[in-house]
Symmetry: C2
Subunit: 332 residues, 2 copies
């Protein structure tokens, strides 16, 4: 049996639409699955203390404030120093936790983690990386929304960070990195894409050139690099397409009594497919480039998403993701 390093993750008990219930269920499942995992559960006393009393490997960290889903991110982070999001980021900064997960206000998570943990040396812009299901192996797409306007050199840094993530967390030895563009040739696309292409050709190991929209779900590369505007549109479009296509498929299956009977037979196969396509099966999107592991959950995260976020977080800690990113950027 292999020895697995102990990992301590901070978890925001009150982040996400259905928190704290889904978060606590997710933590319970993650602890059961990984005997070397410890959790610092951050949130109001009446939520975190009773739960910690029932679990050996959970410590309650009381935070008296909560940042709401719709609050202005940076203002809230500055004003609410004792919020679960700011306190969680501080636990990583102080070395008490090796990573922090929250499914709360995404903007506040970005702001708090960047301000409190600081950036890795050499990183201009931290970026959100999201792991998407494809017809082949999963693909890391970044930036998924942290930076709406980017310069070519930012995209080069995203490439290094995304490749480090694919190596460390997805176990891809030599990640193939593609630049999202609107044609295959280097001279195609926006000025940003053309300049980034030239820089990536010189400086990014594993760079395979431009990829197009259709190549993302096809899974032809391991890492897709783009600006945070295009990346966010692409991510939400994929979520929307999955949702619409699955409902229309369901509708077709239930469109007549005979179809319903046939659909009942197919239920297990279709449930498996739905799980495979679930964009939340990876659980959380890391904010890469900050000097610590920051895992941002979807506001709608269920307990399964929370558990898989913690599993991914532990893998990232054990693979020393933050050091690997720092090394990749120092070598570039």
């Amino acid at each position: 049996m292999s020895v697995v390093d102990a990992v301590t993750l901070a978890v925001d008990a009150v982040g996400g639409d259905d928190s704290p219930a889904t978060v606590l269920e997710g933590v319970t499942a993650a602890l059961a699955a990984d005997p070397s995992l410890r959790v610092l559960l951050v949130g109001p006393d009446d939520i975190v203390t009773p739960y910690a009393a029932t679990q050996d490997r959970v410590e309650a960290i009381v935070a008296s404030e909560i940042i709401g889903m719709d609050e202005h991110a940076t203002a809230a982070v500055r004003a609410k120093k004792d919020s679960s999001i700011v306190v969680g980021a501080r636990l990583v900064r102080e070395g008490r936790a090796q990573g922090f997960f929250s499914a709360g206000n995404t903007g506040a998570m970005m702001a708090a983690c960047t301000l409190v943990m600081g950036r890795i040396e050499g990183v201009s812009r931290p970026a959100i990386a999201t792991v998407l299901p494809t017809a082949g192996s999963p693909v890391v797409l970044l930036d998924a929304g942290a930076n709406a306007d980017c310069k070519p050199e930012h995209l080069v840094q995203f490439a290094h960070m995304g490749a480090a993530y694919a190596r460390t967390v997805l176990g891809v030895q030599i990640p193939r990195v593609g630049l999202l563009n609107i044609g295959e040739e280097p001279t195609k696309g926006s000025m940003l894409a053309q300049e980034a292409h030239a820089l990536m050709l010189e400086g990014v190991p594993g760079f395979v050139g431009n990829v197009e929209g259709r190549d993302i779900p096809a899974g032809v590369v391991d890492v897709v690099v783009t600006d945070g505007f295009t990346g966010n549109v692409a991510l939400k479009l994929m979520e929307g397409m999955s949702h619409v296509l699955l409902s229309q498929f369901k509708e077709a299956l239930l469109s007549s009594p005979v179809n319903k009977m046939a659909a009942a037979v197919l239920k297990p196969a279709l449930a498996k497919l739905r799980d495979r396509l679930d964009p939340e099966s990876h659980g959380a999107a890391p904010l890469l480039g900050v000097d610590g592991l920051a895992l941002i959950g979807h506001g709608t995260s269920g307990s399964r998403a929370v558990a898989s976020a913690l599993r991914v977080g532990a893998t990232a800690v054990r693979g020393e993701l933050v050091s690997r990113i720092a090394e990749a950027l120092a070598a570039s």
Copy 2:
């Protein structure tokens, strides 16, 4: 019975991967469906002349050159004055045809139609509009790839042109127009999106504000406006997702002998769904803003796509699309 105006469309016989066969089949089907349609079939003598001899409402227009799918667009348009693409555009310019369809080299179609037909007064940048299937009614997405880099005022023009298309061709009385962005609030997104939002709020009738990636397949607006980089990524991503999801459904349905039997029952319902989702059911994407109707087909267009492109083209001519766009821009 209503009287329908006669329409003459020029058609490139040698554009598209499977031309001329698919083009000729598509023309035959379109003529059968619309007794008031006439076609000027453009291409090599040995292809267009024999076909025209078999069809009452087809005139052969001999063009001795062909622009290949991979040729450099503007160079080819300048060099090959007697190519089917340049000749077809000229037929519209000279008033002999009211529109021109080609599934050939997209870049060459854009260049030839812009150069030969000219732009509608006031249009800075012609844009490609594509009609996408959604959970609700179809949505017009533009720019789908003509302009990788855009200014805010270009997006405002795209909004006017897209709304005119939705009115004229899709029959939407008051089209709802959305700006593709990465958040609902006006202050969200790239500098381009923020500035375009402010301009559209002032000057675009039916403007409903920002829409996000997931809103495209959900069908919450009639027109989605974005730059040609984001639009092209979104279009190809949707095509890729449809393709991957449908193959994975198919795989799930065929994963065991019992599933196969159930799938056989469901075949008609699923075929209907596939047709509904087919991004090519609209047949062609118009290049809006040029002073004439230019219809750009997908390189992979089959005969069904060609036929529906000609149906859409006839509708656009009868609705006086080009005049409607000119009026909308003059009033803005």
